[in-house]
Symmetry: C2
DNA sequence: TATTATTACTACCTTTAGATAGTATATTAT
DNA sequence: ATAATATACTATCTAAAGGTAGTAATAATA
């Protein structure tokens, strides 16, 4: 019951870019500041650029910055961008097409936590994460 | 954001054993009834036997059955038995020692869903899953 | 234009979860 | 005893996630 490392990395990096949005940042800086594996991060950032979440510019003075306003970027958008959208996630007992009329044995117990997670992911924006600048990233 | 297949399998198998607790069942039967990979299941059941969740007896008329009363087996016990206890799970941003005083950027948003999941896992017993025998397994 | 700092691309390596194969061992009905 | 039916054990394979390495392309600046 956990998020993937890739999801953690993406959320942390994008939060960092928002917190320091006055300028752009190279992968190398993000790597050092957030202690994430450098090469893995380049791949991830390339992907996030393709998906339109960040702007990437090469060459001297290049680097990465948010492509959209942070209050329009929801956590589910980030998961979507790395291929872990809510729909692609299998549920607790792994059945595909199930609903309240054809539930698995765990459905009643799982439905509430599941809704809370989905609500959190669909209503939390990057901007709302950064209100307290003291929190870890 | 999902459970492991192993966790799914364990929950489903144990639920089946409880639902049909009048007798014991061979791995082969469980494999056929629940459509789980046979050899993988033998390993899993051996593990669950070692951890004291099921009784395994070899030979003709042997098979598997619950070792404890179903109302003493909580979902977290099952996860524990397969090495996925709550403590071993990294949290949403993957920090180790964090608390309300030294939180990550997502802590405030994550703390409620997290509690709901933990509550569900620590209060739901196998027995409580089976009240409606019509649900899928 | 040459240099330097950056992202982009391609290929490969490592670890882990999941799954498979074959054999040994135990139990019991006959 | 023997045959049949189970679990237990050991070794291996596969696929996916995570991570590394080297090089090409791009852009600013000196
Ligand atoms: S908990 Fe509900 S949604 Fe999830 S697999 Fe079971 S029936 Fe389907
Ligand atoms: S959400 Fe809370 S418990 Fe989880 S990593 Fe962040 S600070 Fe730690």
């Amino acid at each position: 019951m956990h998020f993937s490392k890739t999801a953690e990395y993406a959320i942390r990096v994008l939060s960092y870019l928002h917190r320091h949005h006055e300028t752009s940042h190279s992968v190398n800086v993000l790597h050092q500041e957030l202690d994430l594996p450098y090469k893995y991060l380049t791949k991830l950032m390339t992907e996030l650029a393709k998906k339109g979440l960040v702007n990437a510019s090469r060459g001297r003075e290049g680097g990465l910055s948010l492509a959209r306003s942070a209050d329009t970027i929801y956590l589910c958008d980030i998961l979507e961008a790395i291929g872990e959208s809510l729909e692609h996630e299998r549920c607790i007992l792994g059945f595909d097409k199930c609903d309240a009329l054809n539930p698995c044995a765990l459905h009643d117990q799982w439905v509430k936590p599941k809704e809370m997670i989905e609500t959190m992911l669909t209503t939390t924006t990057l901007a709302s994460l950064i209100q307290n600048k003291e929190t870890k990233l």
